[in-house]
């Protein structure tokens, strides 16, 4: 009896809300909260801190979108997903937007009916070996045993690389990244391989990071970016231009610190004026007001600030900008102009 009442009361209290389907923007505004699909934990990209507040590079993009749309970077509900569930959660409508270390591929774009946002991190698969092995290049790895996570693109890339270079390897199949780390540290495989960002953070967590080297070869392209459901172009535009705005802000020297000052009145640089809404009316083109980019930058800073705070050289992850530098600085970040 007690139990039946419990069920009834739970059923009564649980919210059963009805909302329109296509216009994600209206849904998000009505809900007052952005449902952002993130991972269940990837170092530097998304993880809860000691007090339970999510932080990380991917998380910053969620907050920027929330700030642009709802005016507050804290109005985000994070939906943690595993690699298997991420697209189902997005496509079933449980999440509005996805920032989850996700490689943009043709099949995901076309077959899984996603629309990808601009790339926010250019990654690629690399190798780590103990420095005692004395290996300087991945091409010297003939006959090495390699810990591979089964069922990943990592596994396929690895097979391709060794076949093309006509060298052999001995696979040690493992299930998770944590298992791979344990096996590697225990000496059961000579080589640890995953995306370069993952290699760096894994190495940083070792007791003696100096005893391991990351080899120079990057053997695959892993452009990581956000994604939304296909079929809601306005919502995709919002995601796309928020990412572009953060990248452009760095290029234009707009930071979390100076953005409020710059947005007070139109300045000498037209592209900054257009970004911050002091010239033209670009916000309304994507269904937002003129201060959308201002709020996004105020919430998380520009691309470079977020990078430095979460995964940059001064953090435990210690990633260099590399490919992810602005095009002016030798990288390939190149935000489409806001005009």
């Amino acid at each position: 009896m007690r139990s039946i009442k419990y069920a009834a009361s739970l059923a009564a209290i649980s919210a059963i809300s009805v909302s329109a389907q296509a216009a994600t923007l209206d849904d998000v505004k009505a809900r007052g909260e952005l449902n952002c699909v993130v991972s269940t934990g990837v170092a530097g990209f998304a993880a809860p801190d000691d007090s339970g507040k999510w932080s990380g590079f991917d998380v910053d993009f969620c907050r920027a979108v929330a700030a642009a749309v709802l005016g507050d970077g804290e109005k985000v509900k994070f939906v943690p997903t595993t690699g298997k569930t991420r697209f189902t959660v997005l496509n079933s409508g449980e999440g509005d937007i996805l920032f989850r270390n996700t490689t943009e591929t043709m099949s995901r774009d076309a077959d899984l009916k996603l629309t990808f946002l601009p790339v926010n991190y250019y990654d690629g698969q690399g190798f780590m070996v103990p420095s005692a092995l004395g290996v300087a290049s991945a091409k010297d790895l003939d006959g090495a045993s390699v810990c591979i996570q089964t069922g990943t693109t990592t596994e396929l890339n690895l097979a391709d690389f060794f076949r093309v270079n006509n060298i052999s390897y001995e696979p040690v199949p493992v299930e998770t990244n944590a298992e791979a780390q344990t096996n590697y540290l225990g000496g059961r495989c000579d080589v640890f391989t995953t995306d370069a960002s993952g290699l760096a953070s894994t190495r940083a967590s070792f007791e003696k990071p100096d005893e391991h080297v990351i080899l120079p070869e990057i053997i695959s392209k892993e452009p990581l970016g956000g994604a939304v459901r296909q079929g809601d172009d306005q919502w995709a535009d919002i995601g796309k231009w928020v990412v572009n705005a953060l990248i452009a802000a760095e290029e234009l020297g707009v930071t979390q610190g100076n953005v409020a000052e710059m947005a007070k009145a139109a300045g000498d640089v037209p592209s900054i004026n257009r970004l911050l809404g002091t010239e033209g009316d670009f916000g309304s083109m994507i269904g937002l007001d003129a201060q959308w980019a201002l709020r996004a930058i105020q919430a998380v800073g520009n691309y470079g600030e977020s990078f430095d705070r979460n995964i940059g050289p001064d953090t435990a992850i210690g990633l260099q900008r590399g490919l992810n530098a602005q095009w002016k600085d030798g990288g390939i970040l190149y935000a489409a102009p806001i005009r």
Binding site: Q21, G41, P80
Partner: protein, 371 residues
């Protein structure tokens, strides 16, 4: 020469204490550890194994461990063993998940009430049992109100639930609901009414034929495709329903086992007394059947309780999920042993308590069938 024995008349000598080696710990050790050459070998092997394992484990977990630190590097600098500072910094996250910090007293209050109610329900000689049983009747509403808010309390959405609190919410709800539903299903399966019988059989066989993880996945994602567009019903509620249905199907089979052990003469006697179906079930059959089924029932409860860790696949962060997410924090990366040990201890305590209670209950209800 005289000996003390001669002081007593024949047959009046007081009992002498038993020989030293056949009492107390010495006797126990001789009988249990050194009773045969094989046992002697095993004992020494076991002592040697403990000697190998214990000192290392002890120094890792206690003497070399760090209890206060800000991050893992500080732990490393301070000592070489376990970094319990990680757990110390995050126990709130492990306990309450993302529940708003200012409102956590509500979770604590609900938990204290739960403990009181459980004690009153499970222990006959509990002081002030009557008022507590009345509390038990309103507890489900009270707990729901405390946890979810509304009516004067700040509302808290269920996606902020997490950690041990989430495990307990799912576990307790599943346990409390699956027993009555399981009993009904078991009775239904034995019913003479074909529709009821086949409905119950179909339900039980379908649910048992599908892994829980699949049901959870259906609950979290597929349901959105089946329901009318825009319908959105609470994820935690869906999980509670799925977990309860899953446990009920297993429970039904456990109870059916108990029902089959009751001789047909019992029901026939009940019929002869003029008892109706529900009367004979309530007064004659079920008390006996449930008593026999206690080990199986508790087994299912424990299984259900541990299965709650599967909710991580649908994005709810139970203690293991919180642990996994915490390990991705750059401050604490790589401390998996500490996390898993901590979570394991929590589950062990809960499950062991359930197992002990079931033993106590079996002893209490032992009225002549025990072999």
């Amino acid at each position: 020469m005289s000996t003390p024995e001669q002081k007593y008349a024949p047959g009046t000598h007081p009992d002498l204490p038993p020989p030293f080696a056949s009492t107390g710990p010495i006797k126990w050790i001789r009988e249990n550890l050194f009773s045969s050459p094989a046992n002697v070998t095993m004992t020494f092997l076991a002592i040697y194994a403990l000697y190998l394992i214990l000192p290392g484990a002890f120094s890792w977990a206690f003497s070399d461990a760090t209890f206060v630190a800000e991050d893992r590097n500080e732990c490393r600098a301070l000592n070489s063993g376990a970094c319990w500072a990680f757990i110390a910094q995050r126990w709130q996250l492990f306990t309450f998940g993302f529940y708003p910090p200012d409102e956590r007293w509500r979770v604590v209050l609900a938990f204290v009430l739960l403990i009181l109610v459980v004690i009153a329900l499970l222990w006959e000689n509990c002081p002030a049992r009557k008022p507590l049983l009345i509390l038990a009747c309103v507890f489900p509403f009270l707990a729901t109100w405390l946890l979810l808010g509304g009516f004067g309390l700040e509302k808290v959405s269920t996606d902020q639930f997490g950690g041990f609190m989430l495990t307990i919410v799912i576990g307790v709800t599943g346990i409390a609901l699956s027993l009555p539903i399981g009993i009904l299903l078991a009775l239904g399966r034995q019913s003479n009414l074909p529709i009821i019988k086949y409905a119950c059989v179909a339900f039980i066989e379908f649910i048992r034929g599908v892994p829980l993880i699949t049901l959870l996945f259906v609950a979290s994602t597929m349901l959105s495709y089946f329901l009318p567009p825009g319908t959105n019903f609470n994820l935690l509620l869906r999980v509670l329903i799925m977990v309860t249905l899953f446990a009920s199907a297993y429970m039904a089979e456990v109870i059916r086992g108990g029902l089959q052990a009751i001789p047909k003469g019992q029901t026939e006697a009940a019929d002869a007394m003029g008892l109706k179906y529900w009367q004979s079930m309530r007064l004659i059959v079920l008390p006996q059947a449930l008593k026999i089924s206690i080990p199986g029932i508790v087994n299912t409860f424990i299984g259900l309780y541990k299965d709650t860790t599967l909710v991580i696949v649908i994005g709810l962060l139970d203690p293991l999920g919180i642990g996994q997410a915490s390990l991705a924090d750059t401050k604490w990366q790589g401390l998996s042993s500490e996390v898993y040990l901590f979570v394991a201890i929590f589950f062990f305590i809960s499950c062991f308590a359930m197992a002990r209670y079931s033993l106590y209950l079996e002893r209490k209800l032992d009225t002549g069938y025990k072999r």
